[in-house]
Amino acid sequence: MNESDMDVIHSKKHLRWSLTIICLILGLILTIIFALSIGPVDIPITTIFKILFRFPKSWPDSYGIIVMEVRLPRILLCALVGSALAVAGCAMQGLFKNPMASPYILGISSGAAFGASLAIVLGISIGTGVFAIPFMAFIFALVTIFIVYNIARAKGRVPMETLLLAGIAVGAFFTAQVSLMKYIAGEELRSIVLWLMGGFWASSWDKVAIAFPSILLGVGAIMFFSRDLNIMLTGEEHALDLGIKIESVKKIILIFASLVTAAAVAVSGIIGFVGLIIPHIMRIIVGPDHRILLPSSCLVGAIFLIWTDTLARTMIQPTELPVGIITASFGAPFFLYLLRKRKRITGW
């Protein structure tokens, strides 16, 4: 191979990355528009545009309320949560160099579930009204990661194996407390179970406002460390030799991955599968480089969760299914198909 070839290949790679991102952004926009029109009341796409862009009013009052107050916040919340889980999962898998890693691997979900069940069963919360459950879930998620991190820390270093085991143990502890809450829940049992399954049925602009800042900040921060994550995949020793401050990078990524996970869980409950599988699917498609892997996982996570939630709310009208059931039921076969086609999961 001669020299100019490598230049060409390198610039082609960046062009391909840019095209991928542009296509996925378009895909996300189309997804949002289609999802807005689909539901118990089908609203024509032209009307959706008119409502969104505040054309002179030519549609029934109810359409405006359905689109702006019911569907749009729900869809945006799906997009936020999908992005958050996919990016956090991707970061955790990269950090732990472990294909089984998910955003919940350090017990964050169990901690959040305990916080939520405290609010649901015992009515203990520092927030009120619509904020009661999300606030408790969010705070307990962060408390969990704080405990896990400090247990695992020794002499200013955080060995990943210790972190993993500490996460599993602390998670198990909180899972037991959630079981206790369920046991004494009485009439509230159904509320806890539904929260644990995860879903977007109680979406509102308030929840979008709660989740948005943390997720935007966290996702942005994680992407800022894409190159460091790449190099850490080749081994911590290599990363150190290439000038990466591995301990502080690990800490920063853990903090922000936990922050976005906590925000996602707080507003939607525990939605499985997205954070585990979307990064794997994208690794198969775009490769292991986090500079493209993270943004594309982010966008595909959003698209995927919007579509699965659209199915969840329309499949068995007039009622709806928990979205977690749909994410795994449709996502798992698709993932298995990719797995078979490629014969091996890229990178593990």
Binding site: N230, L233, T234, D241, L242, P288, W348
Partner: protein, 263 residues
């Protein structure tokens, strides 16, 4: 150009692993570090680039105290080829080599054509250009070793640290890698510190040797001064025959038998 290792002392918990190790390396010079298992060879390498922080002593690069440099600046000065280079992720060889530019790039910078040129030159030097598009987890051990050397060169370091670069390589590739290292030292005026277990190869390719025993320098100097029957007997606990080979202009160490410890 000069690398001064000055009184390095290192403890693992309470166990002393390095004891007052002092030596210097000049530009273009290859120094080989030998010694039995657990004598502190790898620890010494890791202390030189502050991957491990010595309890006492420091390292001067051209008179500059390394303790005053941050990790990025250290990586601009010191390239490392570690012992274990198992990379399970399907990065292309070119991606891996280009990672050597990391210490020179800001977090959001893209690699410029200058960076690509440096990476390409490193690949030319190490004869890995043809592997450019191959995946790092699908090439042979010898190829991978050369790729990691290419990556270290892409850092444009003044100092190259190699930890058993010939481990797991066949005889052909062992010679190839060491010849490359020596050539690089001469051509780029690199200061090279190389850890190895292979006494025959190391004395052939290194300008000087350092024999470590329990974290202390037992002997340092020209290969003939260091690799004596006596020294090897005391440090490695084996009887050896040392011959001079006219063809390779180096010493041949032939192990005779191990000396059993009298209890």
């Amino acid at each position: 150009m000069k690398l001064n290792i000055n009184g390095i002392t290192f403890y693992f918990d309470n166990v002393k692993a390095l004891d007052d190790v002092t030596f210097e390396v000049n530009g273009g010079e290859v120094i080989g570090v030998i010694g039995p298992n657990g004598s502190g060879k790898t620890t010494l390498l890791r202390c030189i680039n502050l991957a491990l922080r010595p309890k006492m002593g420091t390292v001067f690069i051209d008179g500059e105290n390394i303790l005053k440099l941050d990790r990025k600046d250290i990586a601009k000065n010191i390239g490392v080829v570690p012992q274990n280079s198992t990379i399970h992720f399907p990065f292309t060889v070119f991606d891996i080599v280009l990672m050597g530019r990391t210490p020179h790039l800001g977090r959001l910078d893209r690699e410029t054509s200058k960076d690509i040129k440096i990476a390409k030159n490193a690949m030319k030097t190490t004869n890995t250009q043809h592997l450019s598009d191959r995946l790092i987890d699908e090439i042979s051990g010898g190829e991978k070793q050369r790729v990691i050397i290419a990556r270290a060169l892409t850092q444009e370091p003044k100092i190259l640290l190699l930890d058993e670069p010939t481990l797991h390589l066949d005889i052909n590739h062992q010679l190839e890698v060491l010849e490359l290292v020596k050539k690089l030292a001469r051509k780029n005026k690199l200061m090279v510190v190389l850890v190895s277990h292979d006494l025959n190869l190391v004395n052939r390719y290194c300008d000087s040797l350092m024999l470590l025993n329990s974290g202390k320098i037992y002997s340092i100097g020209e290969p003939q001064e260091v690799l004596t029957q006596d020294n090897i007997k005391k440090v490695y606990k084996i009887d050896v025959e040392v011959n001079y080979n006219k063809k390779t202009k180096s010493l041949n160490i032939i192990p005779i038998h191990a000396i059993e410890d009298k209890l």
